[in-house]
């Protein structure tokens, strides 16, 4: 989907598209041995890095998920296969697992239902050529630059029970009624989500601003001539015309919800109401209660879930190219 119509037209191979295979062969055959070596290295080295540090570990994680706690991979033959024991453990006995799944779902729904539409709405308003548009944009951009770890720390200053802005404004700071927004397990997920949205909304706004600028103005004019009002024009014409951006936004929203980690780790390492799958993986890998098998099993669950949006996205993106 990244290949826009313009790009397709400009693709060098377009005239020779019919004779694809012939064209390909020819092109490669014209290369000298030295050229092939250079190309091989140019592709080979990065691919090796990618396989060794990304895909290899991802697959190895799946294998580790089937080994038990006695496994000592430092020793040859020190691997103890445990079958599905880790999975039975996490789904049946490990208390934070289901809350974490549930929190990831809430995270996704919150972003999808509130933060993403708000980003879209701001982009639509800013697309009207208002005065001072640039100032507004800058204000919404700034959080996008900050790391989520830093976002957590900055929002701590808002939420802190005795000196935070929110309790101070509510007049509860330092009293018995003060609310510990990040500490109270019944509300801290929502507090963290508001903080995460502070960044997410700006990101979505940038993407949609680009998308809206790319919509052919004549589409809009045609719809208006046909008597469509602004709302109809947007939902029936403009929004569908932004399909490529819409897909990207959906993928980003889902992936962000699955990846969420830094912010809860900074707040309380993902405990006490802020359990997320990503945080559980880390808790089982580092520190005292190291259980590599359990951590890897949770990582595998995370991997399987993430593959859904990833595969959907790749399919959308590369299907067209495959046909060429």
């Amino acid at each position: 989907m990244t290949t826009t119509p313009q790009a397709t037209v400009a693709t060098p191979s377009t005239p020779a598209q019919r004779s694809t295979t012939g064209g390909k062969r020819k092109k490669l055959r014209r290369l000298t041995g030295r050229d092939k070596l250079v190309l091989g290295l140019m592709v080979g080295i990065p691919t090796l890095i990618e396989l060794l540090l990304v895909w290899g570990p991802a697959l190895f994680s799946v294998l580790l998920g089937f080994t038990d706690a006695r496994t000592d991979i430092d020793q040859p033959g020190g691997v103890n296969w445990a079958g599905l024991d880790n999975y039975e453990f996490i789904t049946g006995e490990y208390p934070p697992f289901w809350p974490a799944v549930w929190h990831n779902v809430i995270w996704l729904v919150f972003l999808a239902v509130l933060a993403t539409p708000l980003g879209l709405f701001i982009a639509v308003l800013l697309d009207q050529n208002l005065r001072g548009s640039r100032v507004y944009q800058s204000i919404f951009f700034v959080p996008v630059m900050l790391s989520l770890a830093l976002v957590g720390i900055i929002w701590h200053l808002i939420y802190s029970p005795d000196g935070g802005l929110l309790n101070s404004v509510l007049g509860t700071a330092g009293t018995e009624d003060q609310i510990d927004w990040f500490g109270d397990s019944s509300i801290n997920l929502w507090a963290a989500l508001v903080a995460a949205s502070w960044k997410h909304v700006g990101y979505i706004m940038i993407l949609y601003l680009a998308g809206l600028k790319g919509v052919d103005p004549s589409l809009r004019e045609a719809a208006q001539i046909d008597g469509a009002n602004a709302v109809q024009t947007f939902f029936r014409v403009v929004f569908p015309a932004m399909r490529p951006i819409n897909i990207v936004v959906v993928v980003i929203t889902v992936i962000e919800a699955l990846r969420a980690f830094d912010i809860v780790y900074v707040i309380n390492r993902g405990t006490n109401g802020l359990e997320l799958l990503s945080a559980l993986v880390v808790q089982n890998l580092v520190g005292e209660g190291t259980q590599i098998g359990v951590g890897a099993a949770i990582a595998t669950v995370l991997l399987v879930i993430s593959l859904v949006p990833i595969v959907t996205y790749l399919w959308q993106t590369f299907r067209k190219e495959e046909e060429r």
Binding site: A10, K24, L31, T47, L51, F234, Y265, A299, T300, L303
Partner: protein, 310 residues
């Protein structure tokens, strides 16, 4: 990223938000009033966290204890910044961030442009597969890779002259390598789209003149990708600088942490002193805010040409 693929080699940033091309819908007066009100209220809300952080950071802790955080009493100065800088070890953290970020971004762009060149300018059997491999790698949650990478690093023996842990653990190399591996997919994806849109005649003519593959890459294609490379470099500097996880996982000694992960230590250490934490947080944010002010166009262009990244 839709916009990126326009075949012109010129600065392809018609998405630059500052320019108001008159593309947007025409709105009634009432609509405008609504838009301004909504945007102004939202923008004010959006600024509160940062403004509050700045305000808190400028006040001595004892004054806020005395008058309350929501007050104007007491003095205002930069003492918290000085204290955070000195006690928090910021000069060291910033140096570590630079040691990690600069090589990671440079190498990411080098590797990504090489792969992108090979898959977009030549047609061979596996180029889509390869592109999928890279693109998808960037979308995985980092935590999935944590356990095996940790083991791999632990068993990757290095001479003690290079690494005092005798392995890749607790080294800058380890963090740099993880950052490269993770980011190269995204840049490959963006650059390959960019390169696909460059006319084929460019390199064909050079090939007829006997220019080898490397020359085509280095002398023809890469210079034309300058706008995309600039946008990606800006974005990648921010992403790698903002990375929290790799350093958290691999670096065990505090004085080797980059600033994004190091601030977590300060946060834990001075949990009772919000003024100091505010100053530390702002110090951490200064480099990215400076980049934003200086390279706003590149930053925004990078984000939108990428748009497949979380």
């Amino acid at each position: 990223m839709t916009v990126l693929t326009e075949p012109t080699g010129e600065t392809t940033t018609p998405i630059a938000p500052s320019k108001s091309t008159h593309s947007g819908p025409k709105v009634s007066r009432g609509g405008r009033i609504f838009s301004y009100s909504f945007l102004t209220i939202t923008a004010v809300l959006w600024m509160i966290p940062l403004v509050w952080t700045i305000y808190t950071s400028l006040r001595p802790e004892k004054d806020t204890q005395k008058y309350g955080y929501l007050s104007t009493g007491g003095s205002f100065n930069f003492d918290n910044y000085a204290q955070a800088w000195n006690q928090g070890g910021f000069s060291n953290y910033f140096l570590n961030s630079a040691i990690i970020t600069i090589p990671a971004v440079v190498l990411t762009l080098v590797f990504a442009s090489m792969v992108a060149f090979a898959v977009s300018r030549f047609r061979w059997r596996f180029n889509i597969t390869l592109l999928i491999l890279f693109t998808a790698g960037n979308l995985l949650p980092q935590q999935i890779l944590a356990a095996p990478l940790f083991q791999l690093y632990k068993h990757f023996e290095l001479p003690y002259s290079v690494s005092d842990s005798g392995s890749l653990l607790n080294t800058y190399y380890g963090v740099i390598a993880a950052n490269i591996a993770f980011q190269v997919g995204f840049c490959t994806f963006v650059l390959s789209n960019y390169m696909k849109a460059l006319p084929g005649e460019l390199t064909e003519a050079a090939m007829v003149d006997g220019a080898g593959v490397w020359k085509q890459f280095w002398k023809i294609i890469l210079p034309l990708c300058r706008p995309a490379l600039a946008a990606l470099a800006t974005l990648e500097v921010i992403w790698v600088y903002n990375d929290f996880f790799w350093a958290l996982l691999f670096i065990q000694t505090g004085d080797r942490l980059p600033v994004t992960t190091g601030i977590n230590n300060l946060f834990g250490q001075y949990a009772q002193n919000d003024n100091l934490i505010a100053a530390g947080a702002l110090l951490t944010a200064i480099p990215v805010l400076a980049i934003y002010v200086a390279l706003q166009r590149q930053f925004v262009a990078g984000l939108t040409l990428g748009s497949n990244k979380g």
